[in-house]
Symmetry: C2
Subunit: 339 residues, 2 copies
């Protein structure tokens, strides 16, 4: 990905080396693979090196050093290369790792810079995200066709998981399938029977490391006029937020647009309007009150207003912003589906 841009930043900050552990999203960002027990070393010039061990498969296209005494050999390498300042992602280092690296050189947190670089996607990333969104759309549409045959939330969860595997993807996150009062907790985790009323399904696949994230709310039984009104108020709030999206606008303005649209319902909207997606399911930009992020071209983010009472209703799509405008990448139908 944006390795040369990152190396320019390293030169500016006088970082001789950056170290990323394999569970760090920045490891995946640069390598586009996630081998076990490996560490990525990015130098301020030249090709990165991956440290690995004898039991693991090696990523292609990278220089891989198989090491036995991990910290000792890393220390030796740092000494050879006269490393004085090391960039790390502190939030992805355990305290013992931090202490060991600190013994090698001065440490500097590169988290923010990488979140900023990663927020604007490259063409390769956009291609993967679009595929993730297409597969997610396809699976959600298949779910809608089959809604009537599901008796429990668990059956829907299993359907989503099996379709994900059949489509050669992973889950971007543990799907949420929640009806009735359970849906009043936005991250409801324990499935039960499908109750009458609103049913929230929040789901997305990860394709070659890149996430999609979509939510639809269905209705079991016959929705009343009141139910329909609530649903379409959420949809309207989402449309108002999406309408605001353009290059240069502040992210909090999309959040404010959704809240304004809710009017007297705004107290029931208890979370943010959206978040960036990429190698992580939550990344920059943040579409929240107080966010300092600004929308830029090639950002991809969710827009997902919702209201929660003794029910839950949420509608979420993934939006790509370009200089030519915005594209909603998740094309699942949006009218209220009852079953």
């Amino acid at each position: 990905m944006k390795l040369s841009q990152f190396q320019k930043y390293m030169q500016k900050e006088k970082l001789d080396l950056c170290i990323f552990m394999n569970d760090d999203p920045n490891f995946f960002y640069f390598v586009q693979e996630k081998p076990n027990k490996s560490t990525l070393l990015v130098f301020k010039k030249g090709k990165p090196i991956i440290l690995s061990n004898a039991l693991e498969e090696k990523p292609k296209g990278f220089k891989v050093l198989v090491v036995k005494k991990y910290y000792e050999q890393l220390k030796k390498l740092a000494k050879q290369k006269r490393v004085k300042k090391i960039g790390v992602n502190k939030k992805h280092l355990t305290h013992p790792q931090y202490l060991k690296f600190r013994r090698m050189a001065k440490l500097f947190d590169v988290e923010e810079k990488l979140l900023e670089l990663r927020a604007q996607k490259t063409p390769v990333e956009l291609a993967k995200i679009k595929i993730a969104c297409n597969i997610t759309t396809k699976i959600m549409n298949k779910l809608i066709k089959n809604l009537k045959r599901f008796k429990t939330e668990k059956e829907i969860l299993q359907f989503l998981k099996i379709e994900t595997i059949k489509n050669d993807c992973e889950l971007a996150f543990e799907p949420i399938v929640a009806s009735g009062k359970r849906a009043a907790t936005p991250h409801a985790a324990k499935p039960g029977k499908i109750s009458n009323g609103f049913l929230v399904v929040d789901f997305g696949v990860r394709y070659k490391g890149y996430c999609a994230d979509v939510t639809r709310t269905f209705f079991k039984g016959k929705p009343s006029e009141k139910d329909k009104e609530l649903y379409y108020r959420v949809l309207l709030a989402q449309q108002k937020a999406i309408e605001k999206a353009k290059v240069g606008i502040k992210c909090w303005q999309l959040d404010a647009a959704a809240r304004r649209s809710f009017g007297n319902l705004r107290k029931k909207f208890i979370h943010g309007t959206g978040h960036g997606i990429g190698v992580q399911i939550h990344e920059k930009p943040n579409l929240l009150k107080g966010s300092k992020d600004i929308l830029k071209e090639n950002m991809v983010f969710t827009v997902e207003p919702g209201i929660y009472d003794d029910y839950g209703i949420r509608i979420e799509d993934d939006v790509l912003l370009t200089m030519r405008g915005k594209v909603v990448l998740t094309k699942v139908r949006k009218g209220l589906v009852s079953f």
Copy 2:
């Protein structure tokens, strides 16, 4: 689980409070659930408290405090309870978390004690592990019946994943399906076509948080006498290691027994003989050269010798040790299956 034993230890070490983040296996160990963004607080007496936020579902049977300003409220609580010494699992704390907790009190690492407590399973844990092993056995037997219909390693991977979901489990780890030269890397990750020769399948489900872990090696095509000999040498090494297992024996002795059994093949055995399983796929005891662990009753561990050359052969089962003897919990057939 062993909360009162752990609290006795806390009293001995003068720990007023222990903090476990929700991605820490010790969180799951005590709570037997894994809610998002939650923190477990264990006091030296009385019931633990879980800190959570408004968006998450709450675990049952625990006092749950919904907090907004996480660190501030935790600090206040620590002050109220006059906390002077806090137990943490340092390897599961990020450096920023560590710094924040350190500002509240003196920190003390409880990792080793918990690994020790967790190594001997309670009856509830054994019941879950047995179910995990039974389901894993059932799926592996179904795989064996259907081996002929798979053309690629990916098809086998998908089969294992879909069966896991159908059985209402999660994967205990990303399964390994590797044939031919790829199997020479014990943790081979990239699937391809099924080549003629040995095919290693390393798989286990996680049932209600508890892992099973089993490996079988099959043969595509007709094995030569040499191939059969190699296979049965691995099986023999496994039997020799399992035979050694009894309460009070040192874990390195099982490893040594496997190595001794390999004779001239021992150089091809490039990893340890086994590891404990529980809420983590790798936990205590370690069955390795140099391990200081000793086998005790109610430990469950893998025995998994293997040899690697331009092929890979590994046979792995899960063994439960009791005062009455040992039980192999994974009952997948062991003779060489060719297809």
